[in-house]
């Protein structure tokens, strides 16, 4: 069975590595306007604007600038669509956040606001950041450095605050590297 076990170990290790290989480069950092709201006439969207797909298809763009109506079978088969064309943009997440708020769910809007910042971070780095926030993985300084990276490199101010808040609480409750 040792061959089997070796294979298992390799498959698991490689899966973790490869899952993100194809999208290592930042996909939409700088190519979109993360803080701009998707609005109609500058007005906040409400639950009557939902669903966006049928009511405001014109507003939905991929990070590469393609319209949602460009996502056709023909374009896929002719290699005119890539995986990057199938990602959600910060503007769409902001729009969905406004709809959630209008439906009385401000907590969801908060989550979508964080998410809109995270669209700029490559898959691989994002998975690493999640790992760093798990208990006993990081020193306080490492978490604070990660917060700085979020803020400075990705303009992710809300997420930076989130990580600093985690660092403070991990210190208080002994969840930092070496505390276990």
């Amino acid at each position: 069975m040792s061959e089997m076990e070796d294979l298992v170990a390799k498959v698991m290790a490689d899966m973790q590595n490869s899952a993100t290989k194809s999208t290592d480069a930042p996909v939409n950092a700088g190519s979109t306007t993360p803080t701009a709201s998707a609005t109609t006439d500058g007005k906040e969207l409400g639950r009557d604007d939902y669903p966006l797909f049928s009511k405001h298809p014109d507003m939905i763009k991929s990070p590469t600038g393609k319209s949602v109506t460009d996502i056709t079978l023909e374009n896929v088969v002719n290699d005119k669509i890539t995986a990057d064309d199938l990602r959600i943009t910060p503007a769409t997440l902001k729009a969905q956040g406004q709809i959630a708020k209008s439906a009385g769910r401000t907590a969801i809007q908060g989550n979508f606001d964080r998410a809109s910042e995270l669209t700029a971070i490559p898959d691989k780095r994002l998975l690493e950041m999640y790992g760093s926030l798990r208990p006993y993985r990081s020193t306080k300084q490492e978490l604070l450095d990660m917060a700085d990276e979020l803020e400075q490199q990705y303009n992710a101010k809300i997420c930076a605050t989130w990580v600093r808040e985690a660092a403070k609480n991990y210190e208080l409750r002994k969840k930092l590297k070496g505390d276990n």
Binding site: A107, F112, W162, R173
Partner: protein, 554 residues
């Protein structure tokens, strides 16, 4: 003692195989109203919660802190905490009080207050409240699609079968972890063949699960576990902040997700802090709310044996579903883990959610016989389909599925198996033979399937990841293999990520990709004649069980 014959016979009944425990509050073996549960309280100073459920801020653990800072609507908190729990409980089950009037109150409570309110309700009152409080007007249910050998052809056929029966969400997991990428694409292709618009997921370790989603192999995730004590949360290798971050990671990739919790998990993991199961579960539900996640799978879930063993435990489990709905969260109400040997008791477990209707009555219903269920068996499985259909018909209830014709099932199973065969060929994966397609079309369990070379499959699954295959490659493979409609369905699923409509609360799709969620299908129950009623085409389908005799035949 000389045995009394009736007692001797009764001991042979299946219910005697179930585990029952007398209450032991010090170890958390108490469903609700535990003697050590904290008294509800809140103090807010300068906009900061300085006291929560009888604990001062400097005594807060990670969970208290997270809930205090993110999980409670402070604007009406003091008002609600000063309102009598009987009055609030009455509002919950009173049809004359609309849902939208109560949500601002229930989302301003503390966890201990929510538990206090729930403890005032009997089982039927909880059902009345559930009927009104679930976020989506239309009830639904979710399927498990797995098998003992991770046979991908069988997964595709079973997913198509389940999709035809009406499950709008389907979940797979692996028997052997390395199969995850195959299981994920097999359930996706099978489900889109059976009925376009079905959402599929593959439950594996958190980071791996997210990476499968990023590739376009899954559309949502559910097994993002949260726990009610800090020690168990840490043992689960996360913190509220890491889980909250993970939630945002999913949304940032246009993927739906909900958390998972369930009473009994803290007892099972040995750190219940002497609190009742419902109180600890309430903390999990507030963590979910605090994270801005749209929903939660809860109701004992895989730990159902623990609350199921103590007095009032099954009542308390409906109570935890209800707290989830009170916090305006999508509720996938468990009924998933097999927990009783007694058919009567399995039905009892199901009834609260089934009769009242929840966003997903089961999460999930095993679409395969339980011997193939890799979530350790479900409360209801494929062998219960006909009983379930009859229950829906007898009581005029939409439990989330509809009867199907054998010839239609054979057709979609065969098509799904062939579609997967085509994709495997296009992606250079180990061959799926015509013999396997035929076997999967007619199979009931994995015992009906030919053996595959599992080592070769695992190598190929790994290689597929190395090569950076994505959902788009699957679309192309289907299209080039002549499965244009399935290709379009998989592409539509990927396309929906750009729009994000299905990130909203309780979202599912119909066969034409119209989203149905708590935003555009909000629960408007206000007594007889309002809310969801089984009618029209759905009722015609539910009525039409193949077993029924047609009088016109005589």
């Amino acid at each position: 003692m000389k045995r009394q014959k009736r007692f001797e016979e009764l001991e042979k009944r299946p219910v005697h195989l179930d585990g029952f425990v007398k209450e032991w509050p010090e170890e958390g073996f108490v469903a609700l109203e535990g003697p050590n549960d904290p008294k509800p309280s809140i103090k807010i100073e300068n906009g900061v919660v300085t006291e929560l459920d009888s604990k001062q801020r400097d005594e807060f653990d990670l969970i208290d802190m997270y809930i205090a800072d993110h999980g409670i609507d402070k604007s009406r908190a003091v008002e609600v905490m000063n309102t009598d729990s009987y009055k609030l409980a009455n509002m919950l089950c009173d049809p004359n009080v609309p849902r939208e009037d109560i949500i601002p109150l229930t989302t301003a409570m503390t966890p201990a207050k929510a538990v206090d309110v729930i403890s005032k309700l009997n089982f039927v009152e909880m059902m009345m409240a559930t009927q009104k409080m679930r976020p989506r007007r239309t009830p639904a249910t979710q399927a498990h699609v797995t098998n003992l050998k991770d046979n991908p052809v069988q997964i595709a056929a079973d997913a198509a079968d389940a999709a035809l029966r009406g499950f709008p969400e389907q979940e797979t997991t692996t028997a052997v972890g390395r199969y995850a990428p195959f299981n994920a694409i097999s359930i996706m292709i099978g489900a889109q063949t059976g009925r376009p618009g079905v959402l599929t997921q593959c439950s594996v370790e958190e980071a791996l699960e997210l990476s499968l989603g990023m590739r376009g192999f899954t559309a949502y995730a559910e097994t993002i576990s949260v726990y009610g004590t800090e020690q168990v949360f840490t043992d689960g290798d996360d913190t509220p902040w890491s889980k909250g971050f993970l939630a945002s990671c999913y949304a940032s990739r246009g993927l739906k997700m909900r958390f998972t919790s369930g009473s009994g998990s803290e007892v099972m993991m040995g750190y219940a802090e002497g609190k009742s199961m419902l109180y600890l579960e309430a903390r999990c539900i507030y963590i979910t709310k605090a994270s801005g996640v749209q929903g939660l799978q809860n109701g004992g879930v895989s730990c159902i044996g623990i609350p199921g063993s103590v007095p009032s435990g099954i009542r308390s489990v409906l109570g935890e579903n209800l707290i989830c709905m009170m916090l305006d969260l999508e509720c996938a109400s468990a009924n998933d883990q097999a927990f009783s040997h007694s058919d009567m008791r399995r039905t009892e477990r199901l009834l609260g959610q089934f009769l009242a209707g929840t966003d997903y009555v089961s999460s999930g219903y095993s679409s395969v016989p339980n011997e193939d269920n890799m979530f350790a068996g479900s409360n209801t499985d494929a062998m219960d389909y006909d009983d379930y259909y009859v229950m829906q018909r007898d009581l005029k209830i939409n439990g989330g599925i509809v009867p199907v014709k054998e010839e239609d099932v054979i057709k979609v199973r065969n098509k799904a198996a062939k579609a997967l065969q085509t994709v495997f060929e296009a992606l250079g994966l180990p061959k799926i033979t015509d013999e396997e397609v035929e076997a999967a079309t007619y199979a009931n369990t994995s015992r009906d399937m030919p053996e595959r070379n599992m080592v070769e499959d695992m190598k190929a699954a790994q290689d597929m990841m190395n090569r950076g295959i994505t959902g788009l490659d699957i679309v192309k493979g289907l299209y080039n293999g002549g499965f244009r409609d399935v290709a379009q369905a998989v592409l539509s699923l990927l396309q929906q990520r750009i729009a994000g409509d299905f990130l909203q609360t309780s979202a599912i799709f119909d066969k034409d990709w119209n989203v149905i969620s708590a935003v555009n299908d909000k629960n408007d129950y206000e007594g007889p004649g309002t809310g969801y009623r089984v009618s029209g085409e759905t009722w015609e389908k539910i009525k039409d069980i193949p077993m029924a005799i047609d009088p016109s035949d005589f």
